[in-house]
Amino acid sequence: MKTPDWKKYLFTFVITGIIFITAFYFNNYFNEKRLLEIKSIQDSISTDILSSETQFSLLSELSCKDLGSSILSQELNHLAEKIEYSEKNIGLDNREVMQLKKFYSLLEIKDYLLMKKVSERCGKKFVFVLYFYADAKSCPDCQKTAYVLTYLREKYPQLRVYSFDYNIDVSAVKTLINVLKVKNELPAIVLDDKVINGFQARDLMEAALKEVYPKETATSTESTTGTKK
């Protein structure tokens, strides 16, 4: 039997501690890299906003056929997914994640307004869905609704889904909620200016959608934005 080797116990503790600290360091390092990537997408989207606004200003001088089918960058979809992932894995208490989420909401409103104008002026038959959600604790059915909307936007290319956190501290979102008179009974969906509260099964949603969906359907899936929970 060998006597206790306290030095070795301490040495092992230090080694194990270093391994732990290294793991946390790498975790932070990769999270920072993620946020940098999101920021880079943010920069790209800033350019898109500017471009959208410029296009919007020029719209009267442009012929509708010159207008891109996807005015908003496809990267918005990726941004939505990445923000959702960051929310889950880095946490909303991270200031940068929260900022990105707010920015994303603003961008969605911008795109919604622009696309409505485009739709009216150029006769493009888009169907707009505004989806208001909250976290799983206060809205257990929101995740199910997100599944249905993701399914629908993949199936119906002219459907544009804009998702908003009902409780996000962005005055533009609050204004949108007030204008549309969306009650805090979530999930809430605004389809063709009508507010539908509570979870709607796939078949019900699809039936409601078919009533307003244009008869001629495109095959492109570009004109959709990400669907958050």
Binding site: K8, F11, T16, I19, N27
Partner: protein
């Protein structure tokens, strides 16, 4: 709730990692020097048998072929009330001058061993389970270790014989891991099991501390614990190979492991005064506490992993139920979505160290670095099976019920 689960995970991983690092450091800093001269005193090998008709012949043949002076190897076979054809097979060895055969009423392995010890006349006594076989030079290598007068027992390396299914492949890696662990524990003076297959003792061990006990059907562990308690040195000879037949079905493996873990817990309760007791050196301060905590940590980590897996399955199921089968497409690779949380990286490191230790154990026992899939079976399949026998063993101890042999 999530916070608590996360903290428990970190504590479990830290403890498991600490112990693996501790074993690796001990293993790598090994400075043991051994006398390599031949040492061939008279030895007695005890072979307790209970219904071993399929394997006992192989066991005896391997003993008869040992590279050791024949006149110095006495084999005592104790037929512990076998009800199968074991006795008939033993008849063929009745006239062999090296072999004595004794029949007794079934009383359990420890009673068979004690009868054998009482009949042994040599200074060194070993045991070989009748489902195991030895390499020719195993005994010679083991006896060399007894040239150190302080060495009271020597354990071998155990290898799974002919792993012919996934379960046995899994055990093969497990036994290699066991060989690595045993070597590290030997360096630390903390071996607490003298396995039934081919562990050898000086006869004075039994004279000083007594014979085998029932010990919750794990007499090999109890004997080692008692030796440690009495300050006796137990060594390991990794090059002495013993091949054992691993259980080939989940049911048999489950029963064996329930017995082992129940016995471990029972002995830990009996020898609890050794836990955290510096009088017992590395064994008392680190090895036994971590062995006990390791069971708790394993159960905790497996429970958390199972919970997360179930949540994921449930989520996918819910999605399927709500929207039906969609288009299955494999998204393009994006590093962004690789899970780089500290807990994932640490778990991955822990698994990697375990696999690494399996290869160390294999190199130690066979002298070869050989890549195989068995460590993966060990890491993944074992993790799936482990909770079943751990929970049953904990239950057995809670209601004070001994696990049966078969």
């Amino acid at each position: 709730m999530v916070g608590i689960v996360e903290y428990i995970s970190y504590i479990s991983i830290f403890a498991s990692l600490y112990f693996e690092v501790f074993l690796l450091i001990s293993f790598l800093e090994n400075k043991e020097v051994h006398n390599d001269e031949e040492f061939t005193p008279g030895v007695t090998v005890l072979v307790p048998c209970f219904n071993e008709e399929k394997t006992v012949q192989g066991t005896l043949e391997s003993l008869l072929q040992l590279d050791y002076p024949k006149e110095k190897v006495n084999i005592i076979v104790i037929n512990d009330g076998s009800t199968d054809n074991t006795r008939e097979i033993l008849k063929a060895y009745e006239n062999n001058p090296q072999i004595q055969i004794h029949d007794k009423v079934n009383g359990g392995k420890y009673t068979a061993l004690n009868l054998g010890i009482s009949l042994a006349t040599t200074d060194f006594i070993g045991c070989l389970d009748a489902d195991s076989f030895v390499d020719k030079d195993a005994l010679r290598l083991i006896m060399k270790r007894f040239q150190n007068e302080n060495t009271m027992a020597v354990t071998p390396s155990m290898i799974v014989d002919k792993p012919n299914n996934i379960l046995r492949e899994m055990q093969k890696a497990e036994y290699h891991f066991g060989n690595f662990t045993r070597k590290s524990l030997s360096i630390l003076g903390a071996i607490h099991i003298t396995p039934g297959p081919f562990s050898f003792f000086r006869k004075e061990v039994f004279q000083k501390i007594g014979l085998y006990r029932h010990a919750h059907n794990t007499e090999d562990m109890e004997m080692a614990m008692r030796m440690q308690k009495n300050g006796m040195v137990i060594e390991n000879e990794p090059k002495a190979h013993v091949f054992t037949v691993g259980p080939d079905t989940v049911k048999k493996l489950y029963r064996q492991r329930v017995r082992w873990v129940s016995g471990f817990l029972g002995n830990m309760i009996d020898y609890r005064e050794m836990l955290f007791n510096k009088k017992y050196g590395n064994l008392g301060i680190v090895v036994l506490p971590f062995a006990v905590f390791g069971l708790v940590a394993a159960l905790t980590l497996i429970a958390i992993t199972a919970y997360n897996t179930l949540i994921n399955i449930w989520t996918e199921f819910a999605k399927l139920y709500i929207v039906g089968l969609g288009d299955f497409s494999i998204g393009s690779f994006d590093w962004f979505y690789i899970n780089t949380s500290a807990i994932t990286m640490l778990s991955f490191l822990l698994l990697s160290l375990t696999i690494f230790s399996v290869f160390f154990g294999q190199k130690l026992a066979t002298g070869k670095w050989k890549l195989s899939i068995s460590p993966l079976y060990f890491v993944f399949l074992y993790s799936f099976l482990l909770p079943f026998w751990l929970l049953k063993a904990v239950y057995n101890n809670a209601v004070r019920k001994d696990a049966s042999w078969r």
